[in-house]
């Protein structure tokens, strides 16, 4: 058997916790803090790595849904921006989901167009209601996904109400 990623992370954590941290004198505060954080990050990575591509891919799907909804909705934007948004949705739907870099590039590019729609051109006095509704709806789903993804940092005061990463991805797959 080749040493798996899980096994190697497990070995890294053990070495840090049982060998490196005890060997660091209490006066070496930065080194101790950093070593403890490395352990924390490794534990989170152990929970995340198998799901990383699916997580990013679903993030792109959610963003494409928002872009498509905005392009189709009665939301003020120039004709050229509306055309570009619709074209980007069509283009990035076919992003290679096995290529993490391609997914990230798609998120950045489609996100930039969405930002432009949200910002408007400075002529409207208030955020249009439909724009507000669509972005908040997307934001609620995506914030929950990201909180779930990083619940292992133990910083989120509402983490007890979050699903596991596997459950969250299954929910996302069922919706798309």
């Amino acid at each position: 058997m080749l040493p798996s990623i899980d096994l190697r992370i497990q070995n890294l954590v053990k070495a840090l916790v049982e060998v490196v941290l005890p060997a660091l004198p209490p006066t070496e505060r930065l080194a101790r803090d950093q070593a403890a954080l490395v352990v924390g990050h490794l534990r989170m990575i152990a929970e995340q790595w198998k799901f990383a591509l699916r997580f990013e891919s679903q993030s792109l799907d959610h963003l494409l849904d928002l872009a498509g909804n905005l392009a189709a909705a009665d939301v003020p934007m120039g004709a050229e921006l509306r055309r570009r948004l619709a074209a980007s949705v069509a283009k990035f739907r076919s992003t290679d989901r096995a290529d993490g870099n391609a997914i990230e590039t798609a998120i950045i590019d489609i996100g930039a167009d969405i930002d432009q729609v949200i910002q408007g051109d400075g002529t409207e006095s208030r955020i249009p209601a439909e724009l507000m509704r669509l972005v908040l709806q997307y934001g609620a789903i995506q914030a929950r996904r990201e909180r779930t993804w990083f619940q292992g940092n133990m910083l989120d005061p509402g983490r007890a109400g979050l699903p596991s990463i596997a459950e969250m991805l299954a929910e996302g797959a069922a919706k798309t």
Partner: protein, 397 residues
Amino acid sequence: MIESPARTARRGGPWDRSDMEPRVREILDRKLILRERGPYVAKTNEQVSGMLQRVFASQGFVNVRIFDIERMAGGASKEQFAFTVRHGGCPDGERLVLRMDPIESIAQTCRGREGQMQTAMQGVVPVAPVTYIDADGEVLGQPGLITRFVNGVTKPTDVDAAGVSGIGSRFDAWAGKLAPQFVEYLSRIHHFDWQSKPLTYFKVPAPGTTQAAIWQVNWWSRVWWDDIVEPVPIITLCERWLRENAPVCEAPVVVHGDFRIGNFMFEEPSGRYTAVLDWELCHFGDFHEDIAWAMQKLWGARSEDGEFLVCGLLPRDEFTAQYQARSGNRIDPVKLRYYEVLNAYKCAVMDLGAAMQAGIRGNNHQDLVLTWLGSAGAVFLDQIVELIGGAGYAAQH
């Protein structure tokens, strides 16, 4: 990091961000220049000793001895060292603290502003006396300040549950001693008579206008668009909402800007405050901003019976009631909500923008801490959705 044409495009939208405090603008401009000089490597004790020798020599002291240099815990934003100095003017030695800027951090701020306000606050609230300010790093080589060492703890040694930067601490039986001081000192800061104080690094927003809010929106949206790594639609929506809903501030006061758990020290077992810390985000503005900041979910904790405690100290209603009774300021719920949104926005910008950019470039002494704090960014996005959309909005979707 992925390169994309969109990443480098100017995407700040139609808004003019030039209306902000001049010194804040200088610091943000300087950051863009400095960031190209990275990566930053944590200073060694030997390097710190050399820097301090330069400081004391520049002040005319001779026979300077620097010893017992000790890196201080925490410091998610600035690099901090305790040390002892002995010289001709201080033969018995004095314990001091050096606090200085890495190239980039989660919050890019001014040591001159911090030092001036901390000095002005002496006798108003407990603070560590400032002994030296190098606002532009002319002697130290990077901006920094030196204060006297103050004894105390930021969390009780007999209570568990504390994370990075004091987040998640609960004070249990200590709350009875600490909460009244927390409210009292916040009230004193807001009633501080600053008119005659030398606060040359600060400007005061025009009373009776929306400038107090807009200066903050311009500051933090500038940070977002300077540091953006990946678009976040909720952050963009929030900026627009903040601009459209900016409230009038009738009478600007000193706003601490980071008045929360982890930023005050107290003695054990008395619980007496020894210092209000971390004045780097201090500015003039609306007192609601500090109230809303202290109330943020991330600084809070749940009591044994599940009740949310502001900064791990007291329930939200009790906090606002005690503050109003102590200060005489009347809390306007509409303004409070606005500043809750603004603060969640600021924190999201720090976590998902400034921290990530500094971490990617390796420009901080604790890149790992920044990445860790960045992983909490969605907590603030969720808060923005709840606050703008209405209570329970996020849970319904």
